[in-house]
Symmetry: C2
Subunit: 117 residues, 2 copies
C-alpha cells in the first residue's frame, strides 16, 4: 500500500501529497502524522498540495481534519502550493477551509510557521 | 501528466519521489529542477526516496543523472530515506551509486548539505 512520506526538517514536518487520497491512505497518513508529532519535537506541519489539480469536499475535509489533529497535539499546520485553479474551485463550490492556514509556497509557509512559534 | 513538486526551503530544494518514474516524468523533473537551480539561489537538493520500495538500474541512473546535473549548476544533492531493503537490493544487483551522497533521513541530509556549504 502506498504511504505518504513525512519528512522532518528542524522542528517541522513536511508532507507532499502526490497520490490519490483514498480512505486507506488518509487514515494511514493521520496515524503516521499524529504519531510523529507526539513522539518527536514538532512545532509545525507543512502540507504541500501543489500536485493536486482538483480539490473536492472530501480532500477539503481531509486537510481540515489533519490540521485539527495536529493543532490538538501542539503543531500548527499550513497548506502550501495550492494551484490557482484549485482556489477558484474551492470558492465556487463554497467549500469551507476557514480552519486551514494557507501560504503560496513552502518557503512562505515555513516563514509563517516560524513566526508563530 | 503527473509532475513531481519541487519545494524550496531556505537555500535548499526538496523533492519527494512518490510516483512511478517513467521517461516523461523523469525528463520533466530534470527540466524543472535545473531551471529552479539556475534561477533561484539554491545550494543543495534533497531527494527523498522513502516511498520507493524498489530501485533498479533505471532509477539508480536517474538519481545519478539528477545529482550530476545539479552539481554542474552548483548544488549538492543528497538522496535520503532509502529503505533498508532497497540498500540490500542495490548491493546485490551491483548497482553503482558511487556518485550519489546518501543520508538516512531528511534531517541528516539537510545537516549534510549545510555542512558542505
Amino acid at each position: 500500500m502506498q504511504q505518504i512520506p513525512i519528512l522532518k526538517i528542524g522542528y517541522f514536518l513536511l508532507i507532499s501529497i502526490q497520490v490519490d487520497m483514498d480512505d486507506q491512505v488518509v487514515l494511514q497518513l493521520q496515524e503516521n502524522l499524529t504519531e510523529r508529532i507526539s513522539q518527536e519535537q514538532v512545532k509545525g506541519v507543512l502540507l504541500d498540495i501543489s500536485s493536486l489539480d482538483m480539490v473536492d469536499s472530501y480532500i477539503g475535509r481531509m486537510l481540515a481534519t489533519l490540521s485539527a489533529m495536529s493543532k490538538i497535539l501542539g503543531a500548527e499546520t499550513v497548506v502550501v502550493g495550492m494551484q490557482p485553479a484549485v482556489a477558484m474551485t474551492i470558492v465556487e463550490l463554497g467549500l469551507d477551509l476557514s480552519g486551514i492556514n494557507t501560504a503560496i509556497n513552502a518557503e512562505r509557509g515555513m516563514a509563517m510557521l516560524k513566526e508563530r512559534r
